[in-house]
Symmetry: C2
């Protein structure tokens, strides 16, 4: 790791970064630490033929930053462990780090540790992110209450459509392809939206890594409430609309990897949060409501409620 | 990760463990966070034919706990990211976690997060450990001063000899083989020794992962001091002595993976630290002294000083 260093220190609390046995940093007394780790494997989570080292690095950090954002937290530090095959050049490895820094720099996140080892086979990238959240302001999935509005940030399904375009299964026009593929390769973690959600008294929150249906089911189960969504209100990007594709709804509900945020908040404060998001250029859309349990996620169609399973439902079988 | 949980909470500061987007914990205001990450790859760091899943898990956590100990810190939490091939059964994976818990349970460390993904090839295990150290009591390698005593905990070289026994290149008697192989597979992180070192005003400290020569060179370079050791004082285990092997000295200087601690401390307090270690059953041996720079590690032989390079020197070429 000796060659992998930052030129600057971004977080004032950092005491020792990379170089000794471990990194050291201080924490404000009225804050909690937020920590998470995610692994990406070549051939499973990305294909080297389809993604540049820079894009792989960027996404490896982004998915973790998104988890911190979904806690209402602010990311501060990250550690990188890489098992790298000999087929990767030094230059490619440097680009992978550059991809992480492309996200870390504007967010002022410091690289504080890591381990680079060799492997005979596929590259495995494991990123750990540490952040902080004010005590009592953490956003958990168990905090949904009957009467809440269900919301989602940004537009959804783009990443799944982008992956199909990337794989050559979908042929959007050039602008739409560029937008959707970018959404897949370079998801923008919703740190600012998470901060806005952190300001409210109570918000249940998840980031959309495994698809809206899955994330809402997690909130529903953790909170022991029923969630009913209105499919016609799901926020769709212009690029997705331009596809006019029969699978669009599937991608929006089950696609995942958009790394937007979804959750629930009392209707009394939703409009205020929506305005504050808009002021930051963040779309916040109400897509349903929370009802008394039992747990389950439903949508209404033809006057009756249909259960939305964690992944897939009979419309797509 | 949903099936991987602990039955109990060990750290009182833990607010949310595994289950939400990220883990949350609180930190005492007069403490610093200590964080590190290490990766082990099947075929590189361990061979499945020679180590059980339990042993692999144990060591994956131990090497990180050792890094925290070398900071004078106390480990509190860990996160586990695994890329696992289909050739590993659910049972084996559970044993790998059990191996980690075998170390975590007595140390009261909580498993607070992780990610399990599939891979087509070798298992890659990445563990991140978070601990704490009292502000000002962190033990860095840059804190060696001329006049210091150079010390090492326990005995060294055992792990390297154990690896040779494991590989069938060395044939110790049964007791020695059992001891040495155990030292290789189940290193004991020197958390207690790190704590004792943390009580002194100033100690430079490293854990011995890459071999004594390498670790002392790091301290020498970071502190801009010269280190002179007396090879005859290197602490050798009875099992190693029983081998009476010409490579013993090589294993002690360059073998690594003993995960003992080495460092320097003022001569005025060394004897007191030694007594306090002994009271805890920890051998603390003075093996040399720190002199005015330039940086470099030397040993005295036949009246002249020979430089001890980071890895290998001409005696073994």
């Amino acid at each position: 790791m000796s060659r992998i260093r930052q030129d600057e220190v971004r977080q004032s609390g950092l005491v020792e970064g990379i170089g000794d046995d471990a990194a050291l940093y201080g924490t404000k007394s009225d804050y909690l630490e937020v920590v998470c780790t995610d692994t990406m494997v070549e051939g499973v989570h990305f294909l080297k033929e389809l993604s540049s080292p820079k894009e792989i690095g960027y996404k490896g950090l982004a998915v973790n930053v998104s988890d911190v954002a979904a806690m209402g937290g602010v990311p501060k530090y990250y550690l990188v462990a890489i098992a790298v095959p000999k087929t990767w050049s030094e230059q490619e490895l440097a680009e992978l780090y550059a991809g992480m820094d492309e996200l870390a720099e504007p967010l002022r996140i410091d690289l504080i540790g890591g381990d680079t080892v060799s492997t005979s086979d596929k590259l495995v990238l494991t990123v750990t992110v540490v952040g902080e959240v004010k005590k009592g302001k953490q956003r958990l999935r168990k905090d949904a209450r009957p009467g809440d509005a269900v919301f989602v940030t940004g537009t959804i399904g783009d990443s799944a459509a982008g992956l199909q375009a990337l794989l050559g299964n979908l042929h959007p026009d050039r602008d739409a392809a560029s937008f959707l593929i970018n959404r897949h390769k370079r998801p923008v973690p919703q740190v600012k939206a998470g901060q806005i959600m952190s300001s409210a008294d109570r918000v249940s929150l998840n980031d959309i890594s495994d698809g809206l249906a899955s994330e809402l089911n997690e909130i529903s189960e953790s909170s022991c409430v029923k969630i009913v969504i209105d499919k016609t209100r799901l926020p769709m990007s212009d690029s997705m609309k331009s596809l006019n594709h029969e699978d669009a709804e599937k991608w929006m509900l089950f696609g995942g990897e958009d790394f937007e945020l979804t959750g629930t908040v009392s209707r009394a404060v939703f409009t205020d949060l929506q305005k504050r998001c808009l002021a930051e250029g963040i779309l916040l859309t109400e897509i349903g409501r929370v009802e008394e349990g039992p747990a389950g996620v439903f949508f209404t169609e033809d006057g009756k409620q249909t259960k939305l399973e964690k992944s897939g439902y009979n419309h797509f079988k």
